[in-house]
Symmetry: C2
Subunit: 418 residues, 2 copies
């Protein structure tokens, strides 16, 4: 069998794992690796003449069949990838931001040039998810995804839960341990998870979801008190990437914290582990869980994609037909204000008795049923903490309720998973 010749752009954590893993695998030859700085000390020992600081020596290299892009971000990655496709190369990438923002252009370009772009590593790291959806689950209509797609935030929320610690304290610790970046915004504000669910929902629903229609809320406002109260009520708080689609193609796709019942598998996915729960017809409900990031787990997915290309390379004119991405149809976006959810509301009120009646009246006037309303703590100044769990109601109405609670402090408003 001829060797498949690959070039890699980037030699960070994931690329190092890919390089190491490929040492044990026959029939794959690494021709060139593009890096920013050739002389930087690295954890992986790569022959000097394999390195270049000019990515176009990979992209334009006639001896390279597949370009593996592992630098992340939209630019210059998109420049490199689009040039490579035009040069007849297949692409393997772990670039979730590029897929979310340029997916449509990217897949149109690959089809135009009869090339494939595989990206298992971009979503949920090592967990097999993209290839299963596109192959063995192809006969399904998947209508719901609930997923934990960001290890950093899941680590922070797990630590807050286990240690009873505040968000700020755990973030600091996570930064010291290298689980969170110095500028944690991409993770803690939900951007990373939003990129991933955009592509995952597009693939699962077979309709293109646009990143600008994905509602996003991070975890920075979650208090340790919310964690404790959620636990008491039989829930955990997780940053959940949600996507549902109805029969008319209306796709409700969003990332935000949720109270999720301890009876579910997702509630027990802890620390940096990721998980994807999906529901569809005919399959029913499945949950896939595993490492969502890291050198070796992510390398597993990148190498799996490379081997899929290698298996068919040179044998057929139209390679990997199931892995192609045609999405002529676009999903219709659903505004968050039009969605229906259950809510957890934590309130500090000047007078417990009065406020319970007031909340009850405000909600009743909007036809919102309450599942429970509990006084948690009464302070010396006669203010009290109250926790409300609503039944399912429209988001715009619950926002009106919050506005009308004008003499109370609403500490938290968190959606509750069904």
């Amino acid at each position: 069998m001829d060797k498949l010749r690959i070039g890699i752009i980037g030699l960070g954590t994931v690329a190092s794992g890919v390089y190491k893993t490929l040492q044990d695998i026959n029939n794959i030859e690494i021709i060139k690796i593009a890096v920013k700085n050739i002389n930087k000390p690295r954890s992986v020992s790569v022959p000097k003449d394999m390195l270049t600081d000019n990515a176009y020596e990979v992209v334009n290299n006639p001896d390279i069949d597949v370009v593996v892009e592992l630098i992340g971000g939209v630019e210059p990655a998109w420049d490199y990838i689009s040039a490579a496709i035009k040069n007849g190369k297949h692409i393997v990438t772990a670039n979730k931001e590029l897929l979310a923002k340029k997916g449509e252009e990217l897949f149109n370009l690959t089809e135009k040039h009869n090339r494939v772009c595989l990206y298992e590593a971009a979503i949920a790291g090592g967990i097999p998810i993209i290839m299963p959806i596109k192959t063995i689950l192809a006969g399904n209509r998947i209508h719901k995804i609930q997923a934990i797609l960001n290890g950093t935030t899941n680590y922070i929320l797990t630590k807050m839960d286990v240690d009873g610690a505040s968000y700020e304290d755990v973030l600091k610790e996570a930064q010291e341990l290298g689980y969170a970046e110095t500028n944690p915004t991409g993770d803690v504000e939900g951007f990373d998870a939003a990129y991933k669910i955009t592509t995952l929902a597009t693939i699962a629903f077979k309709k293109r979801v646009k990143i600008e229609n994905v509602y996003r809320e991070g975890i920075t406002k979650i208090r340790k008190e919310d964690m404790a109260q959620a636990n008491e009520l039989g829930y955990k708080i997780k940053l959940i990437a949600n996507a549902t689609i109805d029969e008319n193609g209306n796709a409700d796709v969003r990332v935000h914290p949720m109270l999720i019942s301890k009876d579910t598998t997702l509630a027990h996915i802890n620390y940096v582990t990721n998980a994807v729960a999906m529901s569809g017809y005919p399959i029913g409900d499945i949950v896939l869980s595993g490492p969502g990031a890291g050198e070796f787990p992510t390398a597993s997915s990148v190498v799996g994609d490379i081997l899929a290309i290698q298996a068919e390379f040179g044998k057929t004119d139209y390679m990997l037909p199931m892995m192609r991405c045609h999405h002529e149809h676009k999903a219709n976006p659903v505004n968050i204000n039009d969605t229906y959810n259950k809510y957890y509301i934590s309130i500090t009120a000047p007078n417990a008795i009065g406020v319970i009646a007031k909340i009850g009246t405000i909600c009743a006037n909007k036809n919102i049923s309450l599942a429970s309303i509990m006084q948690k703590e009464v302070y010396e100044n006669s203010t009290a903490d109250i926790v409300v769990i609503t039944e399912k109601c429209q988001e715009r109405l619950i926002k009106e309720v919050v506005e009308e609670l004008d003499n109370c402090t609403v500490n938290s408003l968190i959606r509750v998973a069904e």
Copy 2:
């Protein structure tokens, strides 16, 4: 695109689900369905002229590209499948027994005739497992599998746990509800799970495991007292299909009940749900869970296999290269007596103080460390119930311990998962 023409052998639960699912899918045409009795009333409405009571009208039909075998058992299924392959047809099957007993012959025959045999539905029903292992996980060396592969036994064990009921009572209820067969042997004695782990380990380890080397123990001796004590100790009892392979190709493959820590995902897989936990390099640990049986989940896998064939049919001479099964290498079997495990032992002893000393001495003489030894109940006749948890030790030694406890009743000896 030309339609892929399929013939189905069998029209039971799974085949009905396949028939219904295919109604929504283009480019697949059902030509013929072989059944035992054409006139039997069915839940699915199939045109009369599509049915035949002669399976050879499917197997020998020149208008059929793919034969979908859904009758189960070795004969006559093997007759039909082997004849179909020789006639140039690709195979999709859900037949775990046939795969376990005839896998080697089957895959040699498909290679000889350049045909594929896909069997996602045979292992863990709807859970995507075979195709992921063979495609996106292909770069891994998987060295460990722990799985719940039989829904009937998992249902029985879950009900025993939840209701505090005896095996006999729950079995009876499960039979009434249709979760267990009138003759439950295939499920409760672990045959079904043994068939499945034989094939799953073969695929994951890339070395052929033989069914006769798979150690097997069922759940019929599990007592409600064992359930209660396991719970108290932080465990659940599950029928676990285990497979590990070492660097020398020694494969320890077995099915038996195990105490499994509540900290693991598998401990929370309840009722008829199945799950497969796998460990490998570079991926680390993943867990895939979902419906292990049933009309529609199993149909998802059968249809996924059909669509995989359809995607490449007629486009290449050597279809689905990653899904081929070559296993020139055989795994070396490991005898259960040579394995190392932790054990739970429940003993009823004539005299608690004496027996604790005696157990301690017998174990110490064999260099077996005890993790805990607890007196659970003292009866009026001065006998006592004692529960022992050992550290890891060799199976043959623990059997000697049981033999030497000659004046006690050993109620249960159950392995404990690490």
